[in-house]
Symmetry: C2
Subunit: 563 residues, 2 copies
């Protein structure tokens, strides 16, 4: 094997390890979709590469392809027509298991080098991936490029860095010498092997297929597990390209490419339930809705299951030095990708007595109106709205908006469509904002995925904090954002919310939003409430994907002395 990818990418790996320990800003892959970074023709090349996929069969040359499925439709109204392999699991999984042996036995450096090279090639293909993400998820182009390309690659690299750090924390060999009597010392030479858990299945989501998928894929791969990627039937292409690149790199390194495979299905005949409970499967990474995520946790008992589900995120408005900056910040958070981020706020708790500002108290109604006004301003420019809000990934999300109008509360801002010049057929929706009472839990105390927002009138901020924390414990939550002029309130909120497993942002303003989660610094999902049982990425996300298993042999005294 002539690949020295480990050495080639060693600086990238070291940078990632250092960043994950300092938690300071760092990124391996440039987030600016610029020709100066990616090559002047990169965008055109990416667009052309994406177009060339449309209407074709995505043939990876995998064993056990029983038929072909094609269930993707672009939320922007473009006909995709890509056909993907539907696997016969009884043929595919034995081939994967057979490919696993050499992968398990490979050096740690070799496996990590392969992972780093895959990430490097994914980065060079960021534009093609961006168009693929955009036209499967509905994200605007800029988000599709950043979150679907470099940010997802950073998340994958982060997982590789954690895996590398964990696998190398136990030496591969040590001499253990113990004095057992006045005259006798026993010495054992111990050798530790990294033993992977088994075949890993990665069940992808429809909104961030690469960003949410890469951590699990690369954590499993680096630690010696083969990976079967099962994309959401509506968002296959970005992961199909990823698998294709991974298989190319594996083959170049002399491995059986079936170490990474794609297992597709469609809405009519889903395979995930069968796949995740197969006895060969030792790991399942799942990103998606709570109903199926809970099912996977309850049923894939033979495997270690990592879930990233959804939750009910809160904003607590107590006061602000800058009402306009605050409501602008909130509005952007609500609008970004039309609320289809698992980090998007849903419930905005505002005290009945209003909020504190330098200009004096602002009433509940005025505070609510200021948020509505900020959202209205945001979507008033169709071009800006089209880019920031993008399109609605699924019919189900659009239906959910209609249902929310009648579920309880008063409409204070209705959802509308966006005029999208470039994609007139795009499925779009601006945020629906409902005002509800605390008592109306059937409306607000449940996840309403998409551009659906509840402004909840509370007795006071103490109640707001307690409702947000209780909801997180009961329903899950990934994020909370608090605005207050009181340090004591901010401390109390952060204490209560972090104890409930919620990453809490305080007094955000300007170019930083509660939805954002940066690789190497922000832990995404805490694993400490029902929004998921795992974090992207911490040590817990990787260490259970393998075991150190020892062999030991006594060393005669003479050899020992020479060691």
């Amino acid at each position: 094997m002539a690949c020295d990818w480990f050495d080639e990418h060693r600086d990238t790996l070291d940078g990632a390890v250092t960043a994950s320990e300092s938690r300071k800003f760092w990124s391996a892959y440039p987030e600016v979709p610029s020709g100066r970074v990616y090559g002047e023709t990169a965008k055109d090349d990416g667009l052309a590469a994406w177009k060339s996929r449309l209407g074709t069969r995505f043939d990876l040359g995998q064993p056990g392809t029983a038929s072909w499925v094609s269930a993707e439709t672009s939320p922007y109204g473009i006909d995709m027509g890509v056909q993907y392999p539907r696997a016969d699991l009884d043929t595919l999984l034995p081939a994967v298991a057979s490919a696993s042996d050499a992968w398990r036995q490979a050096d740690i450096e070799t496996r990590v080098g392969v992972c780093l090279e895959i990430l490097h090639r994914l980065n060079r293909r960021s534009f093609e991936l961006a168009f693929s993400v955009m036209h499967t998820t509905g994200q605007g182009f800029m988000m599709a490029f950043q979150a679907g390309g470099p940010h997802a690659q950073d998340r994958g690299l982060e997982a590789v860095a954690y895996a590398w750090r964990e696998m190398t924390r136990c030496p591969q060999r040590a001499m253990w010498s113990k004095r057992v009597s006045k005259t006798e010392t026993v010495t054992l030479e111990k050798t530790w092997r990294v033993v992977p858990r088994g075949i890993a299945v990665n069940v992808g989501c429809s909104t961030f297929p690469t960003w949410n998928g890469y951590p699990g894929i690369f954590a499993s791969l680096a630690t010696g597990n083969a990976v079967v990627v099962k994309p959401h039937p509506g968002a296959v292409l970005p992961l199909a390209i990823t698998v294709e690149i991974a298989r190319d790199v594996l083959a170049e390194a002399g491995f059986d490419p079936n170490v990474v495979t794609l297992a597709c299905d469609d809405f009519d005949a889903p395979i995930a339930q069968d796949l995740v409970v197969r006895p060969e499967v030792g790991i399942v990474d799942f990103t998606g809705g709570n109903a199926f995520g809970d099912w996977v946790e309850a049923n894939a008992r033979q495997a270690r299951v990592y879930t990233e589900k959804a939750g009910v995120n809160a904003i607590i408005l107590d006061g602000t030095d800058d009402l306009r900056g605050t409501t602008g910040n909130i509005a952007f958070s609500l609008c970004l990708f039309s609320g289809q981020m698992c980090t998007t706020p849903q419930n905005i708790f505002i005290p009945a007595d209003g909020i504190d500002t330098p200009e004096g108290p602002v009433s509940f109604d005025d505070a609510a109106a200021a948020i509505v006004k900020a959202v209205d301003w945001f979507v008033s420019d169709p071009a800006r709205a089209a880019e920031v809000l993008g399109a609605i990934q699924s019919e189900a999300t659009r239906d959910r908006i209609a249902e929310a109008r009648t579920r309880g509360g008063t409409i204070v801002r209705d959802s509308t469509e966006i005029d999208n010049d470039r994609f007139p057929e795009a499925r779009t929706a601006t945020p629906l904002i409902m005002q509800v009472d605390v008592a109306d839990e059937a409306a607000w105390k449940r996840e309403a995925f998409g551009p659906i927002v509840y402004i909840v009138k509370t007795d006071n901020t103490a109640e707001s904090i307690s409702l947000a924390a209780d909801t997180a414990r009961a329903k899950g939550a990934l994020t909370a954002a608090v605005w207050s002029r009181s340090d004591e309130v901010l401390d109390r909120a952060a204490d209560a919310l972090t104890a409930a497993g919620v990453a809490t942002s305080c007094n955000l303003t300007g170019q930083i939003w509660v939805n954002q989660s940066a690789a190497f610094s922000d832990f995404h999902v805490s694993g400490a409430n029902p929004a998921g049982n795992a974090t992207l990425c911490d040590a817990a996300f990787v260490v259970d994907r393998f075991r150190f298993v020892a062999s030991r042999v006594p060393v005669p005294a003479a050899v020992e002395a020479a060691d």
Copy 2:
């Protein structure tokens, strides 16, 4: 709070961290039960302290003590009569939850300091603990002292070291600065809190209550979880003393002692099933039999469950340079604590054609006879036998020996009692050795806990390896020992067995045995086969007991520049 325990024990902590990374021999607590180390009166004091417990009520001053239970009987035939608190969980658990808050919010250093001080005091009480372990488990005094005292304390310290290392790998605070445009940089101050998972329940076992219990107890405690210790009803005293010491230290440090509590039951009305599924319980550590361990894994779904169960350990005999040394080593492994270690070998695979020695081949029958002879020699001296074999912990284990005689195969060495001069009423049994064919799986391919050994005649060593690995995958296994004169055979065996999650020892001789597992170096149970889902101790054993949860707040440019 005037306790500077963290600083006081810092060298011990650093030593443990260093050792767990080098995996070289290290120990914090001296294993020699010597007056020079522990004080000239330490043994007498420990014996007196132990005696003073007999027939008394072990009152910890806990809330919710509904009644008192007393189910311990010494396997050495001594009347114990200690009464322990039986808890009303509806009173105890809320008190534990209430005690948890301050513990969770304490500094990492404070919590770790408390843990180190508890371990230090446990060490000073090693003789009292030794007598308590001896007279609940049936271990001989030396093993009870070493495994129940210093070795258990080392295992607890190891867990604290891992917890410390993991909790401090993410900084408590970091400044994250990102250039967001040519002129603008956004800076967030991020703070991470260690958020524990919830109340931890530690379900103890009857044979090694402290050695198997301390890792979970200290891993949970250090990471901010309150711990409810639920001892095996037959082996309470060592853990009751442990809880008492922990409560004293906690109170001295200004914490509510209910951070560590004891919840006892008896054989007639067990509470473990109710306890481990309580919604307040976030962690369960279980050591014990596979049937209940499997039940806990399947039912305590609200908690993160760590199990150390049992398995079917193998010896593979292919050849040896020193038949006498090998069979002596095997005999000691079989005799130690009458086979009541989860690391004791059960099945000895020997090829039908015999084994390879420098003196030429030794037939199957002669090899089997050499093992029997070595065991016979070992138990021929009653004093040596009484000390090494100890007593049989439970009636069930004695009954199992009787049952094994008739389950299949031929008796090649029958189990006998040991004359124990000091404890004439002791329940004792020397190893039963059965010879069986491979086909007789009903006999050998299941766990037969206790002094029950199967010599299994195989076609050849390749079959021996494959049977041992397959059995590990199907039934679990913690250890394997291989003797061969061929490096190729040793490599093949180590590859196959470690891949099945079995720690493998090769060509052991002299003062080191396959049963032994040393803190800071040997991972006990791999978690990679049905013998358990966790390891004592690796990072995976601690990292899931807590989460890092962040709060973040923007920093104005001026503050940032001064940082």
